[in-house]
């Protein structure tokens, strides 16, 4: 039986405020709360709430036959809790139906997988803890921020306990193969790879209301017919997209919500079902996929160039991750929170010359200047905690001494006591 595997990415970064260089060292607040709230509010009112309501209805009306996945980034969860807790409730209600799966990902929607293994691990754990806390379900499938993936990365992910990994169905790794199967990893037998059918996925956010598109208008009827027309052996259709496709990219008046409402009925009519990522992966892989170089779900190239494609981005990322270890030694809460929020991939993308869509800055240079000023202040704070003049190893030793202080003192006291006893005994 053919199945559609939906997952929707819910992500909106904090909006960084205009941070001038003369504030470095004086002001440690980096966010434009008003703009962040505005952005979130718009997403919530125009997209998340109406779409969640429709999905809840679909699940109810189909007796749980409609299923889908969500991946919600850490910063987005925080902002939703703060500005629109009703959305958290509505996701929780979806979670309770048992038909919705939440995916694991690095908490900060970051490129940590590319830079620091320890940081990556901490973030994945933090995210999964947050999902358990909010929705009561432990994620079992993993998708990296921007679907960044390589063979080597799979080892880290598998070690963290996730053997279902969602990746982009990029042509350069699939070759002639179809994305509509479950694949395996070249040397990790347990790992299952699900590949995004990007052609089908992109029809929804980018072409739905495009009158110049040859297939316009896109209807649920047509969409499911394409799936039905695919070769019978191709059973899994991974349709993954940003949740804001519903209501923000494609506005309400384009009929995008009607499209979503009509999908299940049209699918069932053609004998097509729905599934979630973890369920879909419970099958024997048809083949393995090799991906020696990291890929992502972005653009035509499907590489990492939108985030690490120019000198500006490299400089920012190298500076940022140069303090990863130190920050993780720190205990200061505010510092650790800022550390997570400023890692968001979007801030790097704003520095790109070709992919800076949605940027809150005038130009990549403007984005870079602002980010570097923030980072400079952040680095100063890290430095104040642990001066850079001390090597990491040395610092570790010192910290160990301090942390073990109590233990060592009590041990010494024991010895003194024993010695004294011995003395009095004599």
């Amino acid at each position: 039986m053919k199945k559609i595997n939906f997952y929707f990415q819910v992500h909106s970064p904090y909006v960084l405020r205009r941070y001038r260089f003369f504030e470095i060292g004086n002001d440690h607040y980096y966010y434009d709360d008003f703009a962040s709230e505005n952005t979130i509010r718009e997403l919530v009112d125009k997209s998340y709430l109406p779409a969640n309501a429709i999905i809840a209805d679909l699940i109810k009306n189909t007796n749980g036959k409609f299923r889908c996945g969500f991946s919600i980034s850490g910063p987005t969860l925080e902002q939703l809790e703060q500005y629109a807790p009703e959305v958290i409730d509505s996701f929780r209600a979806l979670a309770d139906t048992g038909c919705v799966e939440f995916l694991a990902e690095p908490y900060a929607h970051s490129l940590s997988a590319m830079f620091n293994d320890k940081e990556f691990e901490l973030q994945v754990k933090k995210h999964s803890a947050k999902i358990v806390e909010l929705f009561g379900k432990k994620p079992t499938a993993f998708r990296n921020a921007e679907l960044i993936y390589s063979d080597e990365m799979a080892e880290k992910i598998s070690k963290l306990g996730y053997n279902t990994i969602l990746i982009e169905g990029a042509k350069h790794i699939l070759g002639w193969k179809s994305p509509n199967y479950v694949y395996g990893h070249p040397y990790l037998p347990k790992v299952r790879l699900l590949t995004r059918n990007f052609t089908m996925s992109n029809h929804i956010p980018f072409q739905f209301s495009d009158t110049s598109w040859s297939e316009y208008p896109l209807t649920a009827d047509k969409f499911t017919q394409w799936i039905a027309d695919a070769p019978a052996e191709e059973e899994l259709f991974n349709i993954w997209l940003g949740y804001e496709a519903f209501g923000i990219i494609q506005k309400d008046y384009t009929g995008i919500f009607e499209f979503l409402k009509a999908l299940p009925e049209q699918a069932f009519k053609r004998g097509i079902g729905f599934t979630t990522p973890s369920e879909a992966a419970k099958t024997t892989p048809i083949d393995t996929l090799t991906s020696p170089y990291p890929l992502s779900w972005s653009g035509e190239e499907k590489d990492l160039s939108p985030w690490m494609g120019n000198q500006l981005q490299e400089e920012a990322l190298n500076k940022l991750y140069s303090v990863a270890e130190r920050v993780n030694l720190c205990k200061e809460k505010a510092l650790k929170r800022d550390w997570l929020t400023i890692q968001c991939t979007d801030y790097m993308r704003y520095m790109s010359f070709k992919n800076a869509w949605g940027s809150t800055f005038d130009s990549p240079y403007d984005a870079f200047t602002n980010y570097m000023n923030i980072l400079a202040d952040f680095l100063l704070r890290v430095d104040a905690e642990y001066p850079t003049s001390i090597e990491n190893e040395e610092l570790n030793e010192l910290l160990k001494t301090i942390n073990d202080q109590e233990k060592t003192i009590s041990e010494q006291e024991e010895i003194i006591k024993k010695l004294r006893k011995r003395k009095t005994n004599i």
């Binding site: 001038r20 003369f22 000198q311 400089e315 920012a316």
Partner: protein, 417 residues
């Protein structure tokens, strides 16, 4: 297609940006094989590059018929015009211009500069235009800037050929709104009579439409370009410990020098590793020296005076940042020149060149904070310096005059009846 152009300056004897721009455009247009350009200027020196356009000196065109010998003509104007040509023009004098003072050849003497009797000189240029309009064969008339509009208009009235005027600047840019009524009326009349108006930026186009009441459909923008600097690679940055931030231009109200001083004082409050240079002179120079002193940054703020030719390029190449905080700049060629030698530029959003540059930092001229931030960023973070330098050079080398020339040609084809 034959074009008759009226200009005021022509390299190598130039006084401002007008000469460079009309020269560049003419040369760019010469790349089109079927286009013949005749360029009229008040006073050529004989060393102008004539390889791509025929240059006629207005000071060698007779406007009053006077008896003279071939030898005398050869002696007086032989270095700029063939005597045969002179006599040909003399045969085409149709109007009586004896009210104008002329020399023994019947020619008017022009200064070719911007003298006090500029308006009179503009009128005399008109007389020359009438003789040329009667003697030459052309399909379109092209006038560069307001000084030559009356000449263009007269030529149009005589020949009935379409007139295209090229607005390099308006009096609103020069005076920040307090326009000179005489200049305004000359500009306005030129625009009213022209068949098409070419502006060097959308900013200027907007001024022309709004302040001169022109029909938007007859106003187009053709952005300026920049000629490659000969041996751009030879200008090397002198290694030095401190960073250099440079302003280069007339120190006048239009160029916004006070914003540069204020931005400098903000940067210096944070880092001492920078020096600021304000090269050029102008009526606000002393006020700027005072301002720098009152901000307590005079030890790091320098006024080297007016720079010329290769000195300019060397100064630009030595700089780490070039800044142009102009309050109103029709185009502004200097940031492009800075980028040619690999120096990152900060420009105001109120300058025309901001419309075509991507790899330069753009701020509002009054936004001192943004300007200071940009300066700080370039001097502190090597990545942004590198990127602006490399990408900027690439970008600017792709902005060539022949592309601008093609756009002008399209306009010619449209107005030609």
């Amino acid at each position: 297609m034959k074009a008759l152009m009226f200009g005021w300056e022509f390299p190598p004897h130039i006084l401002g940006g007008l000469g460079t721009a009309s020269y560049g455009l003419t040369r760019g247009m010469a790349a089109q094989d079927d286009l013949e350009i005749t360029f009229v200027i008040p006073k050529p020196y004989g060393d102008e590059d004539q390889s791509f356009a025929k240059i006629i000196g207005a000071c060698a065109v007779p406007v009053v018929w006077k008896e003279t010998s071939r030898e005398r003509v050869q002696e007086c104007i032989g270095h700029i015009m063939n005597p045969d040509e002179f006599f040909y023009y003399r045969d085409h004098i149709r109007y009586d211009f004896r009210r104008i003072w002329t020399n023994d050849l019947g020619c008017i003497e022009f200064s070719g500069r911007y003298p006090d009797n500029l308006v009179q000189e503009i009128g005399n240029y008109e007389a020359v235009a009438s003789v040329l309009a009667h003697s030459l064969d052309f399909d379109v008339i092209h006038s560069h800037d307001w000084l030559t509009y009356p000449a263009g208009i007269f030529a149009k009235q005589i020949s009935g050929k379409p007139l295209v005027i090229h607005v390099h600047a308006t009096d609103f840019d020069r005076s920040r709104g307090n326009v000179n009524p005489t200049v305004y009326s000359i500009e306005r009349r030129g625009m009213d009579i022209a068949d098409h108006i070419i502006c060097v930026s959308n900013l200027t186009r907007k001024t022309v439409i709004e302040k001169y009441g022109q029909d938007p459909s007859k106003v187009s923008t053709v952005h300026n370009a920049v000629d490659p600097i000969p041996n751009a690679e030879s200008y090397k940055k002198t290694p030095r410990k401190e960073k250099l931030v440079t302003f280069l231009g007339r120190i006048t109200m239009q160029k916004g020098p006070e914003y540069f001083v204020e931005a400098a004082s903000r940067v210096l409050a944070r880092t001492k590793n920078v020096r600021f240079v304000m090269a050029g002179n102008g009526d606000m120079m002393n006020a700027m020296i005072d301002l720098a002193a009152s901000r307590g940054i005079a030890d790091r703020f320098h006024f080297p005076g007016f720079l010329k030719g290769a000195q300019v390029h060397q100064m630009l190449a030595d700089s780490d940042v070039y800044i142009m905080p102009s309050v109103s700049e029709p185009f502004g060629i200097s940031p492009l020149e800075a980028m040619q030698v690999g120096t990152p530029s900060i420009i105001s959003k109120q300058s025309g060149c901001a419309e075509i540059l991507n790899n330069a930092i753009k701020t509002d001229y009054w936004d001192i904070d943004a300007m200071a931030d940009a300066i700080y960023s370039i001097v502190e973070y090597p990545a942004i310096y590198q990127t602006l330098s490399e990408e900027g050079r690439k970008e600017v080398n792709a902005i060539t005059w022949d592309k601008a020339g093609l756009k002008v040609r399209e306009i010619y084809d449209r107005v030609k009846r």
